[in-house]
């Protein structure tokens, strides 16, 4: 039709994305060209450097964007202070998450299978493990996921948002399937995440199609403008807009993990390798919530002007989802017996608290949401990092049972995720327990931690929109949530950790006999053997004790940084609050 006009591209504004995604591409090439011995170190250095570089560019761009938001490539990337802030938070959280991923701990093994494609329990898998293979592809995958999340949070174009959604999801599906231990659970988590995730993205894209049909464009700001001006190609078809916005919102709420689209969360968080769970829980939530805020707010500008009734219905949907999410997250979370599941339900509850803030459609929502995402993200990554260090160890009675990193007689197995197994952890590893307690208190929203300021901001957002009762419900749900965090704390600190050898020898309690593979794939899985794959074999002469393995550095650094940041954000919140306050200006 027309002549091709080359677009003007502000490359500098795209720099954070280009650095992260470009490093992902370079990482794939490294897989081919770097010798196997050097590959892991190279990949880790590249990944951390890319995320740090992305963060540095965000910091560099910040004053410019605060002064004047820019649209790049005709709005495909829209950098407002909110979007840039979300990018920075995602890069920071991904950096901390990769530190945890990179830690091999004192056992010398990372959390990933030597070859994820090997069938669990086969000789091929044994061979791969013995020859010390490692899957260093996880680092480029992490970079792609992080880059997709950063794009997801900062676009105005629904199609770009859809592509970013897939760029962040597809690597995560793969990463979920790569756990070194409990591989069947890991594969199952990946399958569930994939099928439900693909379903949600199909709903999202059909919603985009309906919105396109209604407005003739997929740019959120243009949609809002056209709705306001009444310049619509299809008159009187506002049902298309309502259905489209609902479907898009459902797709986003799925990624956020809000009820009733939360069913995958506990399973995937439990089955995925724990460092990946931490990364996923913190960064995906940040990206999805940021995208949800952008979509809802930009659409609401147009809708509010034309038909306040539709706007009210949209708000009712968000409010109902927020209430359900808080209720399910806190109530079902309080009866969990597995630490990872408990943290998963805690993440659902936090999605609810975030939605409470968003539902007010108040003026300060952007800044309070950013602060919440940061506070929640650092506590989550720290908590899952602690989970990676609390392990099961197989010992033979009579051998001295110390609390050192790895005793000679015992093989360190997978993570000890039963809450009961965490009894007495306070005595075995006081510092680690203190850090974990701090993260739990922050998630519970106890004053002097980051979580308190974050929750205060979210509930203030609801009241500023006139939803007093919703804020009150949020406070009530927080109180219930405090109960289940405290339950875990009490087990860790006050219950004695000594376990009766007799009860430990019970196969039902500690593990169903399957095969003698110490780590890695547990057991043959044909026929009725499926249920045994979650446990490891413990012969009658042996038992499993809980031990804390020593970090080789990166995870300890991540935990320390998260703990310090949690305290600093709680005691001196104004440092960050002043920064994120800029995010509420220039709301388009």
């Amino acid at each position: 039709m027309n002549e091709f006009v080359a677009p003007e591209i502000d490359w500098l504004a795209l720099a954070p994305l280009i650095v992260v995604l470009g490093a992902g591409v370079v990482g794939v090439l490294l897989e081919a060209f770097v010798p196997a011995r050097a590959r892991r170190v190279t990949q880790i250095v590249l990944t951390l450097a890319a995320l740090a570089g992305g963060l540095a560019f965000v910091v560099y761009l910040w004053p410019q964007i605060v002064a004047q938001p820019v649209q790049v490539v005709g709005g495909s990337v829209t950098l407002t202070p909110f979007a840039l802030g979300a990018q920075g938070i995602i890069a920071l959280l991904a950096f901390l998450g990769v530190l945890v991923v990179a830690d091999r701990t004192a056992t010398g093994q990372d959390a990933f299978a030597p070859t994820a494609s090997a069938v669990p329990g086969t000789s091929y898998e044994d061979l791969a493990r013995k020859s010390g293979l490692e899957q260093t592809e996880i680092y480029p995958l992490l970079l792609f996921a992080a880059g997709g999340m950063m794009l997801f949070a900062s676009t105005d174009d629904l199609i770009v948002m859809f592509i970013a959604l897939e760029v962040l999801s597809l690597p995560l599906y793969v990463l979920c399937a790569t756990a070194r231990r409990r591989r069947l659970l890991s594969q199952e988590a990946a399958a569930k995440y994939f099928l439900l995730g693909a379903f949600a993205s199909a709903l999202f894209i059909f919603g985009v199609a309906l919105i396109y049909g209604f407005a003739g464009t997929v740019r959120l700001l243009e949609i809002a403008q056209r709705v306001q001006q009444g310049a619509l190609p299809l008159e009187g078809m506002s049902a298309l807009l309502v259905a489209g916005v609902l479907l898009v919102t459902v797709g986003l709420l799925f990624k956020v993990g809000a009820v009733p689209f939360h069913a995958w969360t506990p399973d995937v968080y439990t089955g995925a390798p724990t460092p990946i769970t931490g990364f996923m829980a913190a960064c995906t939530k940040a990206a999805a919530v940021a995208a949800l805020v952008e979509v809802l707010y930009r659409i609401s500008i147009g809708v509010q002007a034309v038909d306040p009734e539709i706007m009210r219905q949209l708000q009712v949907v968000v409010v109902v989802v927020a209430v359900l999410t808080m209720a399910v997250g806190t109530v079902i979370g309080s009866v969990q017996t597995d630490v990872k599941r408990l943290l998963a339900y805690s993440s659902i509850a936090h999605a609810g608290f975030l939605l409470v803030g968003i539902a007010g459609f108040g003026p300060q929502v952007q800044s309070s949401t950013l602060f919440y995402l940061l506070a929640y993200g650092i506590a989550t990554i720290g908590a899952f990092a602690v989970v990676t260090l609390v392990r099961e160890r197989r010992v033979t009675p009579g051998a001295q049972e110390d609390n050192g990193p790895v005793a000679d007689d015992g093989v360190v197995l997978g993570e000890a995720t039963e809450i009961a197994q965490w009894a007495g952890l306070g005595r075995k590893a006081p510092w680690l327990t203190a850090a974990f307690a701090l993260f739990l208190l922050s998630m519970a929203g106890i004053p002097l931690t980051a979580g308190f300021i974050a929750k205060f901001g979210a509930f203030a957002g609801a009241t500023s929109g006139g939803l007093w009762w919703l804020a009150v419900l949020g406070v009530l749900a927080s109180v219930v949530a405090v109960a289940f965090y405290l339950r875990l704390l009490v087990v860790m600190v006050f219950q004695p950790g000594t376990v009766e050898p007799d009860s430990q020898a019970e196969p039902v309690e500690t593990g169903v006999p399957t095969s003698s593979t110490g780590d890695g794939g547990e057991g043959p899985t044909e026929g009725g053997g499926v249920a045994t794959a979650t446990k490891v074999q413990v012969t009658a002469a042996q038992r499993v004790v809980v031990t804390v393995v020593r970090s080789r550095g990166p995870a300890a650094v991540a935990i320390a940084v998260c703990a310090i940041a949690t305290v600093i954000l709680g005691v001196f919140p104004s440092l960050v609050l002043n920064l994120v306050a800029e995010a509420s200006k220039f709301v388009p």
Binding site: F199, I205, A209, G216
Partner: protein, 99 residues
């Protein structure tokens, strides 16, 4: 023929796909349901593009196709891995993680 019929067809195909995802037990068939939903979306995009006399919708259909292809790669890899482990692709057998 009225062009809105294509929109109705797209909606019907989408509903069939969604029903397949929710009701069928075989992971491959569930996945086919997702693909049907994506293709219904493509039909809707192209129809709306025709209605608006605007090429954007047709271009968007290409993006959706590429994404669908990428999804097939990852999805089939995961389903085949599970099948090799368990000799079954039924979503009912995948029940170690109880929600």
């Amino acid at each position: 023929m009225d062009i809105t019929n294509y929109v109705v067809l797209a909606a019907v195909l989408f509903a069939v796909g969604a029903t397949t995802v929710l009701l069928r037990r075989n992971a491959i068939v569930v996945f086919m349901g997702v693909e049907l939903m994506l293709n219904a979306t493509n039909l809707a995009f192209v129809t709306f593009a025709r209605m608006h006399g605007d090429l954007t919708g047709q271009v968007l259909a290409f993006f959706v196709m590429v994404v669908a292809a990428a999804e097939v790669v990852v999805g089939l890899a995961i389903i085949v891995t599970i099948f090799r482990t368990r000799r079954s692709a039924s979503v009912d057998d995948v029940n170690l993680l109880k929600g």
